[in-house]
């Protein structure tokens, strides 16, 4: 089976792998690089659990053909901590009890980060819009919205 060489930046580090034709980025990250933070939820683009940032933009890794990220930068939840310190969003999610089963949390955090990176002081409606592609079956969304708003207003100052 022919494999295609692929190089890109994964959380700031250069990585080189060989992928089968048609491999999606989620599989490449999880099975070839070993970054288990993006999760498989549907493979259809409907749940957002596999969300990552590609060149700073929110993308669904399950719908991204792996070889299209050649030479680009891919950021996952594994890369958002500052050394041993939690990202303000991670701390806000914890403080607001914004996770139950935790499975949607990586995708939610990446969607929230994509928002705050561009819009550090979002309104509630903007937060709702930003996480609207991400399904959570446990929390009823309210604590997640509150966590993102808390990170926006106070998290940065505390960080």
């Amino acid at each position: 089976m022919t494999k295609t060489p692929l190089q890109f930046q994964h959380n700031g580090r250069d990585v080189a792998i060989f992928v089968d034709g048609g491999t999606n980025l989620l599989v490449a990250l999880r099975e070839l690089i070993g970054d288990m933070t993006p999760k498989f939820g549907c493979g259809q683009g409907g749940c957002g659990t596999c969300s990552v940032l590609i060149d700073g933009e929110l993308h669904l890794s399950c719908l991204t053909l792996a070889e299209t990220v050649a030479g680009r930068s891919v950021e996952t939840l594994d890369g958002i901590k500052d050394g041993p310190n939690l990202h303000p969003l991670q701390r806000a999610f914890a403080d607001n009890f914004a996770a139950q089963c935790g499975y949607c949390t990586p995708g939610m955090l990446m969607a929230a980060k994509a928002l705050l990176d561009r819009n550090p002081q979002p309104s509630r409606a903007e937060v709702v819009e930003a996480i609207s592609g991400n399904i959570c079956r446990c929390t009823g969304y309210e604590p997640i919205i509150n966590a993102v708003l808390a990170a926006a207003s106070g998290g940065r100052a505390r960080a």
Partner: protein, 529 residues
């Protein structure tokens, strides 16, 4: 926003505690926000193979011929698993507590009973190669008439969904086609009630829709054992189910789970583990079997639909004097857990109210749809919907405020419940009072003063005289055997016939179980001697 009403029931509580009652951070929160909580699928194993199943294209059909020869030669295929490869290809989940007969194969034999039923499993090097092989499995179906409505399924001449239960109903106490509840004389009370209201309610099926789909990874471990990473909601339930189906001792397996991406009841059925382990046994390689989202939505078991008829008698002063309920659980093609939920539902009647005459018949019915299973509020959610809509209508009928109507009829400490146990530790009245306060819903002073701890018991503690029913429920015929139907695993004595029944021939005495599954209890539903 959450407010703790420490002022209520304070005299029953010791609040002098150090850790209990604190809003301590979750032990798993750090793992969740860093994405390091280990779900079953987060285990990367060398040389992992992928398992996919061929699912039935029909809701009900005879399987004339299954040709897997082309699939076996398909690129990347390591193994095609057929029904005959499954050591004990017939099970019912609650056989672990000796409840019900084995009625469901891991892979269909002779017949499929719902659309999407697994028929053949493919183990291949990649998901793509498994998908390709699936299209090469040739199945010759002979479609059969299907039944989808619970009441149609009970009509004479309805297609038999599952030959283990030829009347399309689960068999209770080895005799009855339903679980009964009889408390007082509902018919007599209805005849003398000021108003009678009969209504029909329908609960839809519900998909659990956890963000993590069902799945497992099984791999040969050292010393002849198998390690299994699983999304199960019930670890030993799954261990023992696999031990039974694969006919090996339960300590063959090392199950690891406990961190699950949502369940809500949809991960109790051990859907993937048996075939996944069998794949690992037959190939000697790690095997991963994960549901896709469409599979999860359509062929993962839903909360079953329920149809409920309620007939109530109410007096002008607002007292509900009789409640008669007939409920049908749509179990789909196999029993799974619906049979048990029907008993729980019967126990729940007539809701949290003291009603002196209650009559319940709860049926677990088989239809040609995806087997149903447990879900959050199992056996109760739909009945609560029906009862509480009914309570609203009754309050409207007698011109009472719906809050006051509920307080008036609420059960209190010392009251006799319809399943003939005394009510204790009740708090419905206080919940209604506090909700009214929060919502600024005006209720009269006398209703604000009522209490779950006052005015219960006494005459309300009596078991109302319950007439014997003259008609005897028809005895279930001796179960039919089909070719794949091995001896049932249950070990139970035939129960003595209920006193009001004519003697019917006892069912054949089953043989002892051959598998290593744990027995949690030896007897259910029969009187202990």
């Amino acid at each position: 926003m959450l407010e703790l009403r420490k002022d209520l029931f304070a005299d029953e509580r010791d609040d002098n505690l150090k850790e209990i009652g604190k809003g301590t951070q979750r032990q798993d929160m750090l793992g969740h926000v860093t994405g390091t909580s280990p779900y079953f699928d987060d285990h990367k194993l060398q040389g992992m193979l992928h398992l996919k199943v061929v699912r039935s294209a029909h809701s009900h059909a005879r399987l004339r011929r299954i040709d897997t020869s082309e699939a076996e030669r398909s690129q990347g295929v390591r193994r095609v698993i057929r029904a005959s490869d499954v050591p004990h290809n017939l099970n019912t989940l609650l056989s672990l507590i000796n409840f019900g007969k084995d009625d469901e194969p891991s892979l269909a034999v002779d017949k499929v009973r719902y659309k999407g039923e697994p028929i053949v499993a493919i183990v291949a090097d990649s998901p793509r190669e498994a998908f390709e092989a699936i299209t090469k499995v040739k199945i010759d179906y002979e479609p059969l008439p299907a039944v989808f409505d619970v009441e149609d399924a009970l009509k004479p001449g309805a297609p038999v969904v599952n030959e283990v239960y030829p009347k399309n109903t689960f068999t209770y106490h080895e005799t009855y086609d339903r679980q009964q509840l009889r408390f007082g004389d509902a018919d007599r009370a209805l005849a003398s009630a000021d108003h009678v209201l009969e209504q029909r309610y329908q609960m839809s099926p519900i998909e659990h829709a956890p963000t993590e789909t069902n799945g497992s990874i099984a791999a040969p471990d050292t010393n002849g054992r198998y390690i299994v990473y699983t999304s199960t909601q019930a670890l030993f339930f799954s261990v023992d189910t696999c031990a039974k189906i694969l006919d090996v001792p339960s300590n063959t397996f090392h199950f690891i789970g406990g961190t699950v991406g949502g369940g809500f009841g949809g991960k109790v059925d051990t859907l993937t583990e048996p075939l996944c382990i069998l794949g690992a046994m037959l190939t000697g390689r790690p095997v991963r079997y994960v549901f896709g989202r469409e599979e999860e939505m359509q062929y993962g078991p839903p909360r079953g639909a329920e149809r409920i008829y309620i007939k109530d008698g109410v007096m002008r002063d607002g007292r509900v004097v009789a409640r008669k309920v007939r409920a049908y659980f749509d179990s789909g093609a196999y029993t799974r857990l619906s049979s048990y939920a029907a008993v729980k539902c019967a126990a729940h009647l007539p809701g949290p109210y003291t009603i002196p005459n209650v009559h319940g018949d709860v049926y677990c019915v088989f239809t040609n749809r995806t087997p149903a299973t447990a879900m959050r509020g199992f056996g109760v959610t739909a009945m609560d919907f029906a009862i509480e809509c009914q309570m609203d209508k009754l309050a409207h009928l007698v011109g009472m405020d719906p809050m006051e109507f509920r307080i008036l009829n609420a059960y209190r400490d010392g009251d006799m419940k319809a399943h003939r146990r005394e009510a204790k530790n009740t708090a419905l009245i206080e919940c209604v009072q506090v909700a009214a306060e929060k919502a600024k819903w005006p209720i009269r002073e006398e209703f604000k003063r009522m209490s779950s701890r006052k005015d219960g018991g006494g005459i309300r503690a009596a078991v109302t005289l319950t007439p014997r029913e003259t008609h005897a429920p028809a005895a279930a015929p001796i179960q039919q055997r089909t070719t794949y139907d091995r001896a049932p695993a249950a070990t139970r004595e035939p129960p003595p016939p209920p006193p009001s029944l004519p003697t019917s021939p006892p069912p054949p005495r089953p043989s002892a179980p051959s598998h290593g599954a744990t027995r949690f209890s030896s007897v259910f539903g029969t009187r202990r001697r």
